[in-house]
């Protein structure tokens, strides 16, 4: 069953069209990688799905319900959570407060279960344990990313979307985060992973789509994508291709 269906999504930033009719879906319990060069529209896509940007046209169904043009608060309550680009944690607040605020939409209802959920997040990211009272802004980049993901998990999402979680992180931390994503999938969480680091993303993904200039140009299994010329082109065309050697990275 598809947990998310996106049809013909069009989004403008002012006059510039960022998405030109994006269509894709995510099945329950899979990891979908969304690849593409800088400015291709990946972040706009996630921002629109989570209600930050308003779509001009198109349909979005989450668990069969339309969520397009709903508020971010409504969408997160339905179980769709975004871990935004560049972490966007609440710098001046403590790690604990960041996590607790992740559960904002259900705070009144579920007050009793929050410590349990926080325990679960600390179990997933043991590196955060013992730092609950530290100010989030002084954490290292890797820990901040873990905190941002943890904060997203506190919302108890059915579908977790991550926008470039690997950006600026050491390879070992990237590997750790990707392992966590695999583990979350095993627990039944569906994941949409936007990445510049195509090699890392394709390693964990079940399926992948490539976006170029606001449109999905390819979708398929990672094994099909790594050798696709158009994937290489999508990256090489714009960024000079740090992900151009996708196939090499895979040993194909």
């Amino acid at each position: 069953m598809n947990i998310l269906d996106v049809n013909g999504l069009k989004v403008f930033h002012g006059r510039a069209q960022a998405l030109r009719g994006v269509t894709f879906h995510a099945r329950e319990g899979e990891i979908v990688a969304v690849l593409g060069a800088n400015g291709a529209g990946k972040s706009t896509l996630l921002g629109t799905l989570s209600g930050i940007y308003a779509a001009k046209a198109g349909e979005v169904y989450f668990k069969g319900e339309p969520i397009i043009r709903q508020s971010p608060g409504y969408i997160v309550k339905q179980g769709l959570s975004l871990v935004p680009e560049h972490r966007q944690i609440f710098n001046d607040l403590t790690v604990q407060d960041n996590l607790l605020l992740g559960a904002f939409h259900r705070y009144i209802k579920d007050k009793g279960t929050l410590s349990e959920d926080m325990e679960r997040v600390l179990g997933i990211f043991p590196a955060l344990r013992g730092r609950e009272r530290q100010t989030a802004g002084i954490l290292s980049g890797g820990l901040q990313q873990m905190l941002a993901i943890g904060r997203g998990l506190m919302a108890r999402p059915k579908l977790l979307m991550l926008d470039e979680p690997s950006i600026g992180l050491a390879p070992i931390v990237v590997r750790e985060i990707m392992e966590v994503l695999s583990k979350l999938r095993e627990d039944g969480t569906t994941i949409i992973l936007v990445e510049q680091n195509a090699a890392a993303a394709l390693r964990v993904a079940d399926r992948a789509i490539v976006i170029e200039r606001g449109q999905v140009i390819i979708s398929g299994k990672p094994s099909e994508l790594v050798n696709d010329e158009r994937v290489q082109h999508a990256y090489l065309g714009r960024t000079g291709g740090h992900a151009g050697n996708v196939a090499v990275a895979f040993g194909y």
Binding site: S50, G51, I52, S71, P72, G73, V76, K77, S81, L82, P84, Q88, I89, F90, N91, D92, L93, D97, L100, L101, G102, F104, H105, Y107, R151, A155
Partner: protein
């Protein structure tokens, strides 16, 4: 020496009012990105409403609470009717709208209350207290007390409660706060309601000392604005220090040089601060757009 001490106490009283207005301005600014130039009118509305209620036979506390509630309603209505509908406009548009609201409120106040000053009795009877040889009005102590209670309350809310942390989250990162389901538009409404309450409370507390007139809000709002700029427009602690400092400087300027200089002091201080330290004495440079 006694004279200086006397100036200091008077300055702190006046400064407490400036600090309260600046506090409301900064809090609203941090949450909404809007400088509410009608903040001073909230002070006038609260003061005038309390005077009318008191002369209509309400007790002083009842008049105080009703005036605070009424002004809170005005603040809330202002947000719903003119701020929220243009929430996607630039901040400068919103600021100009608040100036329009302030002119409108002042005009209505003139129609309702006329140009005569109104007064309220001091909250506690009895002559001035002698402190270290200087005479301190009991009402001044009430004013200072209001500032302390407000600051303590605000601090406790922001630092200790979940909802206060949600407000701070919105100030730190509006986009991320939205993603958590925190609604900035509700916070914006709350900010204007609390601004109305704070302004009205300040107005009622200062009326026994300065009297209330329909146009008192203009100068108070301006001073509160200067105080907020001195402190660094987004800094709560800076707003309080800025307000107190401005009050003290004004009284010393008026007392030692010329009483005609009182209002000029605020603007001179503003120019000096903007030239030498545009981020405020406490504020840090921030490129953040709320």
């Amino acid at each position: 020496m006694d004279l200086y001490l006397q100036f200091l106490f008077s300055g702190l009283t006046l400064g407490s009012i400036y600090a309260l207005i600046a506090l409301a301005l900064v809090t609203t600014y941090n949450i909404t990105g809007i400088l509410n130039m009608a903040q001073g009118e909230f002070v006038a509305l609260g003061a005038l409403a309390a005077c009318t209620l008191y002369s209509a036979g309400f007790s002083l506390p009842a008049a105080f609470f009703l005036a605070v509630i009424a002004t809170a309603v005005v603040g809330g209505l202002m947000e719903r009717l003119v701020i929220n509908p243009v929430r996607n406009a630039s901040n400068i548009t919103s600021i100009i709208i608040t100036i329009g609201v302030s002119i409108m409120i002042r005009g209505l106040a003139l129609l309702i209350w006329g140009t005569n000053p109104y007064s309220l009795p001091a909250f506690t009877e009895g002559g001035p207290l002698k402190v270290l040889g200087a005479a301190v009005n009991t009402q001044s102590i009430w004013v200072f007390g209001l500032l302390i209670v407000t600051v303590t309350g605000l601090f406790a809310f922001m630092e200790k409660t979940y909802w206060g942390k949600a407000v701070r989250a919105c100030v730190i990162n509006r986009m991320a706060a939205k993603l958590m389901g925190i609604n900035p538009y509700i916070l914006s409404l709350m900010a204007f309601i609390v601004s109305g309450m704070l302004g009205a409370a300040a107005g009622v507390f200062i009326t026994p000392i300065t009297l209330a007139t329909y146009d008192m809000g203009f100068s108070l709002g301006l001073k509160g604005f200067v105080a907020a700029i001195i402190g660094g427009i987004n800094n709560v602690g800076g707003a309080i220090i800025g307000g107190l400092l401005l009050g003290v400087l004004e009284i010393f300027g008026a007392g030692l040089i010329s009483s005609g200089l009182k209002d000029a002091v605020a603007l001179i201080v503003l120019i000096i601060v903007l030239l030498l330290r545009p981020q405020g004495i406490i504020g840090v440079v921030s490129g953040r757009k709320v």
